[in-house]
């Protein structure tokens, strides 16, 4: 089965606005769900630059941008991908 790629933005803005610790979202997943996930730290995605601080931290799940990412939101989105 294909892995679900979760890119976490490691840019300073995302990190400061709540991105640190986002990788913990895997703790909300079951062991089976967890092995489907691949976490990739990403350099700044560049979306914060248009002055939208409120929208950071960003993540990307299989290429789809997730603004205002939280551990819960990421876990939910990953589950949706698994179906």
């Amino acid at each position: 089965m294909d892995k679900i790629t979760v890119e976490l933005c490691m840019g300073t803005t995302c990190f400061v606005m709540g991105g640190s610790g986002l990788e913990d979202f895997v703790n909300l997943l079951s062991p089976e769900e967890r092995c489907r996930v691949e976490i990739v730290p990403s350099p700044c995605i560049g979306l914060c630059k248009d002055r939208e601080f409120g929208k950071a931290p960003y993540a990307r799940i299989n290429g789809e941008v997730v603004p205002e990412a939280t551990v819960r939101l990421l876990a939910e989105k990953v589950r949706n991908c698994i179906g």
Partner: protein, 482 residues
């Protein structure tokens, strides 16, 4: 409460905006727009209406500019005026913490409450076990008479349906020394004769109603001046930002700091002096000694457990030794401590060698406002390498561990760590002072559970932060000569 939440995000956004305005030279003219930009007309209000939201953003901005929210008695005073005064002031003054009365929800008093889950059972263990006869059954449901209840919590432990819940005031609950309480109007106020500036109320308030007075503007001003500005990085900094310690240091240089040093250097001085002081005190026949690096703990002793005062080591903190060394090298340099701690700002006010104190959170907002991507920078090389133990001061057990590693084996150290200063821990310390507890002769006290990595001004989770601190410790050389 987790450090990542909406209240901290709002605070960080304000700091970022202020630094950006400062950089553009528009602080005096455009600060007043911040509440309107952050809470635009079309936005759904978080409280009763956007006007209250804006009024609270205004108060947050006042604190972020370094002023006490309590001092804002004139609503019509513009943020621009506060900004101008911040640009003109000589120095910031204590106390560090400030309460935003408008943001305070005025939570209901701490009390036990019986919820709908109550089944009105036949056994009624709540009623039978209540020592004060405070519980009666009305319409098939138990209710507590608040006048009789003494908050013992018995009913909660005996209820088979878990129907009893405790409603708490988070700030009061979090404060280990009873310094924050509700005033006549039900809003929180801090008694600064009791407050140790640990910052727990700030971290715990779900409405973000407690803030620290920030020094970001003062530091931004210092960076613009001609003088040499030195950043002193607390050992807890690794893991607080993406990138290595060397890259973080490079980020500071990009911000305009002329020199970056590790406070772990000063920690090594503390270790040596602390070990010497320990041996000296034991030779004099003293029963024990406690560490003194944690400023909130030292404040707690001064204000709440004075019996312990003679046993607190007189060795100064790593921040002091680091700053003193910098001032000796260049007496005109400006020293900026960068750490996870709010209480350090108070310590900085009282220490002539320390000019400013920034938290990691505030440093993060500097990075964002100046578009600095830490991960993309080439790391700088530090002049010297502090020891493994000095870098380990950031984690509970680190300070005592360093003294043990340095002191000779025959020093007879038996150490214990007080990991997190709670009301219970204060009682335990009192017992040491009275000679009722004798299981150790070196007591390390950390106000924050987990150590400095869990400080109120930290950004990363304590777990991930300690992981990174441990990694860098393992890669460093030991101070031990054994």
């Amino acid at each position: 409460m987790q450090c990542q939440n909406n209240a901290t995000k709002i605070k960080r956004e304000i700091l970022i905006r202020l630094i950006e305005l400062f950089n553009k030279g528009e602080l005096e003219t455009k600060t007043r727009n911040i509440p309107f930009q952050m809470i635009p007309k079309e936005q759904e209000s978080m409280r009763c209406c956007i006007y209250k939201d804006r009024a609270i953003i205004r108060l947050r901005s006042i604190a972020a500019l370094g002023w006490a929210a309590e001092s804002d008695t004139d609503d019509s005073k513009l943020l621009n005026d506060y900004a101008r005064e911040a640009l003109e002031r000589e120095a910031l003054e204590g106390p560090v913490m400030t309460v935003l009365d408008l943001a305070c929800k005025g939570c209901v008093n701490n009390r036990y409450f019986i919820t709908d889950v109550c089944q009105g059972c036949l056994a009624r263990p709540c009623m039978f076990n209540c020592p004060k006869d405070a519980i009666t059954v009305v319409n098939g449901r138990s209710i507590i008479d608040p006048d009789k209840c003494i908050d013992c919590g018995k009913c909660q432990t005996v209820c088979p349906y878990n129907a009893v819940t405790k409603v708490s005031v988070p700030c009061e609950q979090a404060c280990p020394v009873g310094a924050i309480s509700k005033n006549k109007t039900g809003k929180a106020t801090i008694d600064f004769d009791k407050c140790t500036s640990c910052g727990r109320c700030m971290r715990s308030c779900p409405f973000g109603a407690v803030m620290e007075k920030s020094q970001v503007i003062d530091v931004a001003r210092a960076l613009k001046k001609e003088c040499e500005v030195v950043a002193m990085l607390a050992p807890a900094i690794v893991g607080q930002f993406p990138g290595s310690l060397e890259q973080i240091a490079a980020g500071l240089v990009k911000l305009g700091f002329d020199r970056v040093v590790e406070v772990a250097q000063g920690a090594d001085v503390t270790t040596v002096k602390e070990a010497e002081e320990f041996i000296e005190r034991m030779a004099k026949g003293e029963p024990f000694m406690t560490t003194s690096c944690c400023p909130a703990y030292v404040q707690s002793v001064k204000k709440h457990i004075t019996d312990l005062l003679p046993y607190v080591s007189e060795t100064r903190t790593p921040m002091h030794y680091t700053a003193a060394a910098e001032k000796e090298r260049n007496k005109d340099c400006v020293t900026v401590f960068v750490g996870p701690c709010v209480a350090k700002r108070q310590e900085g006010f009282d220490d002539d060698c320390v000019d400013y104190v920034l938290t990691f959170e505030e440093l993060g907002t500097f990075f964002v406002a100046n578009n600095i991507e830490i991960e993309q920078l080439d790391g700088i090389v530090f002049d010297s390498q502090p020891s493994r133990e000095g870098r380990g001061f950031a984690i509970t057990g680190g300070v005592a561990g360093a003294v043990e590693a340095y002191a000779p084996d025959d020093a007879g150290i038996k150490s214990v760590s007080i990991n997190g200063l709670s009301a219970k821990a204060l009682k335990k310390l009192q017992m040491y002072a009275e000679g009722k507890l004798k299981d150790a002769n070196l007591i390390e006290v950390m106000t924050c559970e987990g150590g400095c990595v869990a400080g109120a001004g930290a950004m990363a989770t304590p777990v991930s932060a300690s992981r990174e601190v441990k990694k860098i410790c393992e890669a460093s050389c030991s101070i031990s000569k054994k």
